[in-house]
Amino acid sequence: MTPGEELPSLTVPITRTLVIAGAIASRDYQDVHHDAEAARAKGTPDIFMNILTTNGLVGRYVTDYVTGHSGLKAVLRKVSIRLGVPSYPGDVLVLTGRILSVNERTIEISVVGTNGLGRHVTGRVVVDAHPLRSRTAP
């Protein structure tokens, strides 16, 4: 892992199930995330993914990469995201990333998530990579 290195992309189909399951798992009952009719009344054509789900997907993308790439345990330190276009059911979110810096165990990665409408999310993630601890160790 070196600065400038690109992460392999992650493609996430945005199903209606994902949007709703993500909202409920994050205890976000805003109707725009599960009720299409209510969403339309608020000026948006359909339900859309909530920010907590986007946050969760960005976190998953980075930790999966660090662990898969290095075999180390990845612990998130910071996740900062900004939302752009919404993610509606039927779209596909493609996450890409680039390593910004590596400082001993701390890696900073920029993440961009693009869907059919454009840039859904831009963000920065700081993650620590630790040697895997054996679960049976004393």
Binding site: L52, N55, Y88
Partner: protein, 352 residues
């Protein structure tokens, strides 16, 4: 199907037609900066494996760190632990936060969308951890026009503690906005006859504004033109006259376009004029106006020209050369505007 033409991008500044008729309440919102949104609030549930598992299932996150005996919670769940859930009225929120939202809802900014989330995880959360949090309303932005509608960005910062020890910070920004109308074509109604029942004013001129009509844009009044608008308020149409060379000028300007002198006096227009030119506006629609309507360049008897509306004839009855007389209309029950009434005798008749 995704309507690609209907992209909502909260961060994309964009002209929003509804911004004009909603009150700008920023001065009221500003007072909420620094006030707490939650004080020593308790998360509804302790950190627990079932909620962690549901989260991981939804996110498709198979990270082994989040399962098993030694599981930690996915750090990105930080906010999820603090969410009030379906019971809604959480005891966590302060009156200040409720007031802020009530103020925005009351002013028409009823919808909400999250735009930014910055989280820092100080220590891992484990099943059994009982969380408390404090939240502060950090900033409220001036009103912004966005593709979703006009609204305010509200930034809050939450500090989450586990057993009294700081476990993470969560900075969150939402846009609280007035939803723009959904139907892409037009927020403007067709002209009156099409409206079915209509408790209408039969032949009333355009100005007897339908109650639901958004307010007309107000004049921008500044040092250079304030006396003009004072004149209008007193039903006088004042033309500037250069005190050095005597040239009349309109609209009002700080200096004479002929000799450059800043000195000026006024001449009251007698009120007679002719239509020098005009256009009929069909598009784009603006909330305060019902297209089509005519916009005329009226040449006053004194020789200067001004842009105004023509009353007393339909939009397609306005003609170049038509004689018109000054009158004042009251706009939105609040302020006066000089317009010109077509002289009776027909559009073609009294060509000056």
């Amino acid at each position: 199907m995704r309507p690609a033409s209907d992209v909502h991008h909260p961060l994309d500044a964009h002209h929003s037609p509804d911004a004009h008729h909603l009150p700008d309440v920023h001065h009221l919102l500003k007072a909420f900066e620094g006030r707490p949104a939650a004080v020593s609030a308790s998360a509804p549930d302790p950190v627990n494996l079932p909620m962690i598992r549901h989260w991981c299932e939804a996110m498709g996150d198979t990270n082994p760190a989040y399962a098993g005996d030694d599981a930690i919670a996915p750090p990105a769940m930080l906010q999820a632990w603090t969410m009030p859930g379906l019971s809604g009225a959480s005891s966590a929120r302060t009156p200040a936060y409720d007031e802020l939202f009530a103020l925005l809802d009351g002013a028409g900014y009823t919808a909400v969308v999250a735009t930014d989330c910055e989280q820092e995880y100080v220590r891992p959360l484990r099943p059994g951890d009982r969380l408390t949090f404090d939240t502060v309303i950090e900033t409220v932005s001036p009103r912004k026009a966005t593709r979703l509608g006009a609204g305010y960005f509200i930034t809050t910062t939450m500090r989450v503690r586990a057993a009294g020890e700081l476990a993470g910070t969560h900075r969150f920004r939402i846009l609280k906005y007035a939803p723009a109308p959904v139907q892409p074509p037009a927020p403007v109604q067709p002209p009156a006859p099409v409206q079915p029942p209509a408790p209408v004013q039969p032949a009333a001129p355009v100005q007897s504004a339908a109650p639901a009509r958004p307010a007309r844009p107000r004049p921008v009044i500044n040092r250079d033109n304030a006396p003009f608008w004072e004149g209008v308020a007193a039903h006088k149409l004042l033309i500037q006259r250069c005190t050095a060379c005597g040239t009349l000028r309109f609209p009002w300007l700080p200096g004479c376009g002929r000799c450059g002198s800043p000195g000026w006096g006024t001449v009251e227009a007698c009120g007679s004029g002719t239509v020098h030119s005009y256009v009929v506006v069909h598009h784009p629609p603006f909330p305060a106006f019902d297209p089509p309507y005519a916009v005329a360049l009226v040449e006053l008897a004194e020789g200067v020209r001004m842009i105004s509306n023509i009353t007393g004839v339909p939009y397609d009855g306005v003609r170049i050369g038509m004689s018109v007389d000054l009158e004042f209309i009251r706009v939105d029950g609040e302020w006066e505007l000089p317009v010109f009434r077509a002289q009776s005798g027909g559009p073609e008749g009294a060509g000056a």
